[in-house]
Each structure stands twice: as C-alpha cells, then as structure tokens.
Amino acid sequence: MSEYNFTDTAAFHGVWVFCEQRDGVIQSISYQLLSEGRKLANDIGVELCGVVLGSGVEENYLKALGGYGADRVYYLDSPLLKDYTTDGYAKVLCDLVKDKKPEIVLIGATNIGRDLGPRCAARLHTGLTADATHLDIDTGKYVEFLKESSSLDLSKQKFDYEDRNLKMTRPAFGGHLMATIICPRFRPQMSTVRPGVMQTQEYDEAAAAKVVVENVPVELTADDIGVEILEIKKSAAKMVDLIGADVIVSVGRGISSDPEKGIALAEELAGVLGGVVGASRAVVDAGMISSDHQVGQTGKTVHPRIYVALGISGAIQHVAGMQDSETIIAVNKNETAPIFGVANYGIVGDLFKVVPQLIAEIKAVQAAK
C-alpha cells in the first residue's frame, strides 16, 4: 500500500455509517447508527457521513439521512450494487475508505453487515468489534456509563481523560461478561452494532434540507464479483415482530420437560395480553422454536411495555436484550435465578402450574371490565 497507511492514525478524520439498503429502502438500523454516530462526531468535532451503496436509490431517501444526523452522504450507484454481494460491496467500501480515510466506520450487525464488516476490516488491515451495544469516545461519558452499567469499583481505576479512542462495549462469552474493546494502533476503528440498541433521534427537517449528497463514481465490474445471485426470496411466513411488540411472553429452558405444552401456554398467555412469543437462546438452540423468536445477544433487543419471562434463568446475554422493558415479570422454579434480579415482579413456581392460573385470572379480570 503506497499512500494508504493504516498506522498513521492522525491522517484519519470523521465518523462514517454504512447505511444498508434492501430493495432501495434504507434499513432502520442505519437511522439508529446515524443517531449514535452524530453524538460521537459531536464529541470530537468532526463530520458524520452516511455511505449508501445501491442502484437507483431515491434522492429523498438519501436526503433523509441528514434528518437523522448525517452532514454528508456518499452515494455509490451501480447496477452491480443493487443487491448485496460480499465482493462488490467490500471493494467499493474499502476503496472509498482508502480514499477518504474516516477514523470510525460503523456497520449494522445484520446478516449483511456481519458478512461485509469482517471482509473489509481484514482488507483494510484494522480491528473490528462485533455486535457492540454501547459506544463512547469521551472518557468522562464512558466512566458515567461504567458507573451505571458495571459492578467495577471505579475509585480504584485510573482513566485518561484525553483519550480519543473509540470504546466499543459488547457482551462476551455467551453474554456472561461485558467487554470494552479498543483499536488503538490502526485506523479506521470499526464496529458492527447490534440492531435495536441505539435509539433513533427525532427526525430533523432542517438538517435533512442541508445535507450534502455526493455521488461518488463506482469502479466495479462484474468480474470483481465471485458470487452470482440466482434468487432473492422474502420469507412467506410472517416474521415475529418482537422489536415492535407491546407485550412479549418469552420461554426459556424451564419448558424443556414439555416444550410443546410450554410454548402453547406462552402463546395463550401472549394471546390474552395482546402480545407475541419470544424465547431464550437455549430454547432456540435446542430447536424448540425458530430463531426469529430469540431475544438477547444474537437475537433481538426489545423494550415492550410488559415482558414475561417463563422458565428463563436470566443469563446476561438474555437480560441485555430485555432489561429495558417497562415491566418485567418472571416465573421460575429456582428462587435464586438471576432473572429475579431484573424483574419487577417474580413468582417462584412451576410455569406449567402458574401460567394456566395467570391466564384464568387475567381472563376473569378482563371479563369483569
């Protein structure tokens, strides 16, 4: 590499968000990342750029990225970029990074982002953090975050308040620990970010009008792409909308003795509460329910009005995915289950006995209204 020197950290400026589109529609994760990226860019006084790769993406979609925080949008248009391919996207994104040298690149941890991110990081010779759930540059803000979210004794810790590295925090070891990752020697600092974690800021009409959209010429030929797309199918079965759900009734390992009955009870309870059924990783991994129901680290992050945890022990990775729910109700046989530590209301008991009683009681209350 002649001019592009990934160790010359001072040569890199600006925060970038890879804004994923499918079928020409910008995905909501992009708005979440721009909102978060805006705060990071403000902390160090740099520009926030959204990068869109696609074909015929409408101008108003590109402008809208400004409304969620972008100062500038790089748009790269080519028929070869209409649908995602690893080779096409990685080449175009890496070439742009080498040309413009951003100090931070954020990518949504979707099935596409988790394919693109590592390919690019390896090519750009830099580190990549997977599935971050919290980002900080400012050390003061990071220390505040630790005060709230860790059991560390901060009085014994020293911090460098001049530090300008991106501190990327993620669940580790199956979610039993949290780890903050830094990439001090190489640039850009890259992270994929879990969908649903970062809050989308309010749309700013004036900012959308001001955003600079730059069309960047694309140097890409069909020969650059080693994989041929034969077909793209949207799943016919309706995916469970956990993220938008008002009430979620989730099942865990506690249903193992009779998974079918356990799930049927959860469905019935979700039915009377007007909600949907979620699940812990253990239940999904055991094949008792499909993975679109999964709440937690590799699943979804949810904040419903009511979250009912049935037979879920409460591993950190699951808790990380649901702790911001407004009211958490836990039913577990084991009175020492960690889930009771985050629940507003807990019942120690066998879910196969408790849930039918709950359903009957709720129906009675509803009938009386």
Binding site: P118, F173, G174, H176, L177, I182, F340, V365
Partner: protein, 261 residues
C-alpha cells in the same frame, strides 16, 4: 478434492459459567465442547465427501488439549486433522486468528475444487468474523449464513439466510462457506470411527511451522500484536430485587391496579 473444516473448542457457555474476581472467565472450571455451528460445518463436509469422495481435513487453533476434539471429528468421519498451536498465537483477536488459520490452510493447500467450511460463529466470542476474514486472507469468495448446499459441476449453489428471507447464490470453487445449524443435523461418532480415530494422522503446526508464510505478519498476532485489545471487562451490577409475589391471583391483582392489563 478436499473439504477443509475449521473447528473450535469452546467453553460450554450454556451451562454454568464461572467468572473470576478480576472479571475474566474461569475457563479451567468449565466444560468444553465443539462449537455447535462448527459441527454443522463438519457435517456439510462429510456429506460432500459422501457425494464426491473428497478428503475431509479438520483444522483447529487452540491448546494441545484440543486434540481430543479433533479426534472426535475424525471419529465422526474426517480423514485427518491439523492442530495449530503455539504460545505465540495465544490471546489473538479475530484479525490475528484469521491470519494464523489462513496460513495453516495455506500450508494444507487449497486446490481448485476445494471448499473451506466454517461455522457461522463460536459461542464464546459470538463475532462471526473469523470465517470472512480467513476468506479475505486466502482471496476466496465467501458465502455466510449457509442453510443449504448443492454441488453443481465446479460450483456450489448455496442458500444464504437473511433476516427477512434468503438468497440463492452460485459460487465457484475454491470458496469458503460459514454454516448455520439449520443446514443439517450433525451425525454422531461411529463405533468404527471411535475405534480408528487415534490411528489417523494429526499434524501440529506450531509457530516455527507457520511464521514464514506470507499471510502471517509476526507483529500482528497474539495478545500484544492483535489490532483490538480488551480495555475493560466487567459484569453488570445487581439491580435491586423486585417484588416477589406469592400467587398468580396476587400478581394479576397488582397488574390490574397498575392498569397494566
């Protein structure tokens, strides 16, 4: 033709997880298993072997104790194994790990018909990064989240899962695939496999064996060389416990009072 399968020995994070007072994982006290997605990768390779008669080589990077896991892979049907092991490799992040494994695969040799199989992600790190990073280092096309594979001439037709559906992709060999558990049901070890697993070859690639490979940069491997470092690790604070309720009817009463139902 070869199928090269990357496997990892991981602590069983679905069981009891022990955390030391300094906030790191107490690996010594935890049981180890073969990473579940990697078993799907191995199964896919064994199915390819049944169709084509190809050789199946399993590769792992880890401590010497990972030999047992590699012997189990042989007992499931793999032909030979390579263990990449060296003090210099310890503490590597995904970038560093992928260089080392890519160098190991280079040493095994990737022929024009060969396929490298990985699991989508390991349950201890959950990054899903090492597969694509190996593919980049080896200049192989990649398909991730693979839930279906059909061989057609010199190509593979793969079903790649998306959150809202799937893509069908055609990729020419040599290539790298990362497999998810929906792809297949991994077979068990066979009795004859268990009987023979210690008579099949298992090679060790240590630091001296790999350090001269052009894919390895000796200053970006191991704990010190890795681009990313752990700045802090911690456990979340215990929240104040909520209200324990005696019965379903008491709970429904509270929910009703608070207008939650």
């Amino acid at each position: 033709m070869k199928a090269i399968v990357c496997v990892k020995q991981v602590p069983d994070t679905s069981g009891k997880v022990a955390v030391k007072p300094d906030g790191t994982l107490d690996r010594a006290s935890m049981a180890t298993i073969t990473n579940p997605d990697d078993l799907s990768a191995l199964e896919a390779a064994l199915e390819l072997k049944e169709q084509t008669g190809c050789e199946v080589v399993v590769v792992s990077m880890g401590p010497f104790t990972a030999e047992g896991m590699l012997r189990e892979c042989i007992a499931r049907g793999a032909d030979r194994a390579v263990l990449i092991s060296g003090r210099e490799f310890g503490g590597s992040d995904t970038f560093a790990t992928s260089q080392i494994i890519a160098a190991g695969i280079n040493k095994i040799g990737v022929g024009p018909e060969d396929v490298v199989f990985c699991g989508r992600q390991a349950i201890d790190g959950d990054t899903a990064q090492v597969g694509p990073q190996i593919a980049e280092k080896l200049h192989l096309p990649q398909v991730t989240y693979v839930a279906g594979i059909k061989k057609e001439g010199d190509s593979l037709i793969c079903k790649r899962m998306l959150e809202d559906g799937y893509m069908t992709l055609k990729v020419k060999t040599p290539c790298l695939l990362t497999c998810i558990k929906e792809l297949n049901t991994p077979r068990y070890m066979s009795v004859s496999g268990i009987f023979e697993c210690y008579s099949k070859p298992l090679e060790i690639f240590d630091y001296p064996a790999l350090k001269d490979d052009p894919l390895i940069e000796t200053d970006t491997i191991g704990l010190k060389g890795s681009p990313t470092n752990v700045f802090k690790s911690f456990t979340p604070p215990q929240k104040g416990a909520g209200t324990m309720v005696e019965s379903a009817s008491a709970l429904v009463g509270i929910l009703n009072d608070k207008h939650l139902i």
